[in-house]
C-alpha cells in the first residue's frame, strides 16, 4: 500500500508498473483496476490554460491512509497505490492515480470506484483554474459524473 503527493508531473503507467514490480504480489493477483484523472484544457465550455492544486498536507496524508484502510476492510485487496498531484498543473498532466490489485475482479473494480468518490469528497485538495478571464477556484466536484 502506498500514497504519494507529487509536486512534479508523473507518468501514470510507469508509476503503476514500478509499484507492481516493487511489491511481492507476483503471481498472486488476478485483477488490477486503475483510474487516472487527467487535466483537460477546458471545463464548463471554457478554455483552461493552467491549474493550481492546493492541499492541506497533514490532513491529506491522514485521509489517504484512512481511505486505504477503509477499502481494505470492505474488500479483499492485495495492494493499493494512490498518487495525487499538487502545485502547478498543465493541461494533459495526470492529476490523480488510483490502482487496486486483488485476486478476483470485483474487489479491485469496486474498490477503485469507491476510492475515487471518497477521495473527491473527503480528501482536502482544492483546484484553482486559470481561464481567459482570470483565476477561479473550482467550487465543488461533480457528483460521480
Amino acid at each position: 500500500m502506498a500514497t504519494y503527493i507529487l509536486e512534479q508531473s508523473f507518468n501514470p503507467w510507469e508509476s503503476i508498473s514500478e509499484h507492481q514490480k516493487s511489491t511481492t504480489l507476483h503471481n498472486q493477483f488476478g485483477a488490477t483496476a486503475t483510474f487516472i484523472g487527467t487535466m483537460r484544457d477546458f471545463n464548463d465550455n471554457e478554455t483552461v490554460s493552467a491549474m493550481m492544486l492546493e492541499h492541506y498536507p497533514a490532513m491529506t496524508q491522514h485521509y489517504l491512509e484512512k481511505l486505504i484502510n477503509e477499502a481494505k476492510k470492505k474488500w479483499d485487496l492485495l495492494d493499493i497505490l494512490i498518487i495525487h498531484r499538487v502545485g502547478n498543473i498543465e493541461p494533459g498532466d495526470p492529476i490523480m492515480l488510483i490502482a487496486c490489485w486483488s485476486s478476483h475482479r470485483r474487489a479491485s473494480l469496486e474498490a477503485c470506484s469507491w476510492l475515487i468518490e471518497e477521495l473527491k469528497h473527503r480528501a482536502p485538495f482544492w483546484k484553482k483554474e486559470t481561464r481567459i478571464n482570470g483565476e477561479y477556484w473550482v467550487e465543488k466536484n461533480t457528483d460521480g459524473l
Binding site: H84, P124, F125, W126, K127, W137, E139
Partner: protein
C-alpha cells in the same frame, strides 16, 4: 496555551488572513469567531479538528489544530 487555526484555498483569499494561533476557544465555531474577528461564516464552510472533519459545536482544547476550508475539489 494555544490553538492553531488554519485557512485554505478560496477562504484564505477571501478573508485575506494568515494561519495563526489563538489563545483559547471552547468550540470550533468560537475559534472561527475569535480568529476571524467575527467574520460571517460562508455557506458550505467546512471545519476539521486535528485532521478530522468536525462540527462547529465540536469542543476544542489546548494544542488542537483547527482548519477551516471550502468544499474539497481534488481528484
Amino acid at each position: 496555551m494555544s490553538i492553531q487555526v488554519k485557512f485554505f484555498a478560496s477562504l484564505k483569499e477571501t478573508l485575506n488572513i494568515d494561519d495563526h494561533d489563538i489563545k483559547s476557544a471552547t468550540t470550533a465555531g468560537e475559534a472561527w469567531d475569535i480568529a476571524t474577528t467575527n467574520a460571517e461564516r460562508p455557506d458550505n464552510l467546512l471545519v476539521a479538528i486535528n485532521l478530522e472533519y468536525a462540527q462547529f459545536e465540536s469542543t476544542v482544547k489546548d494544542g488542537d489544530e483547527i482548519a477551516f476550508f471550502p468544499p474539497v475539489t481534488g481528484g
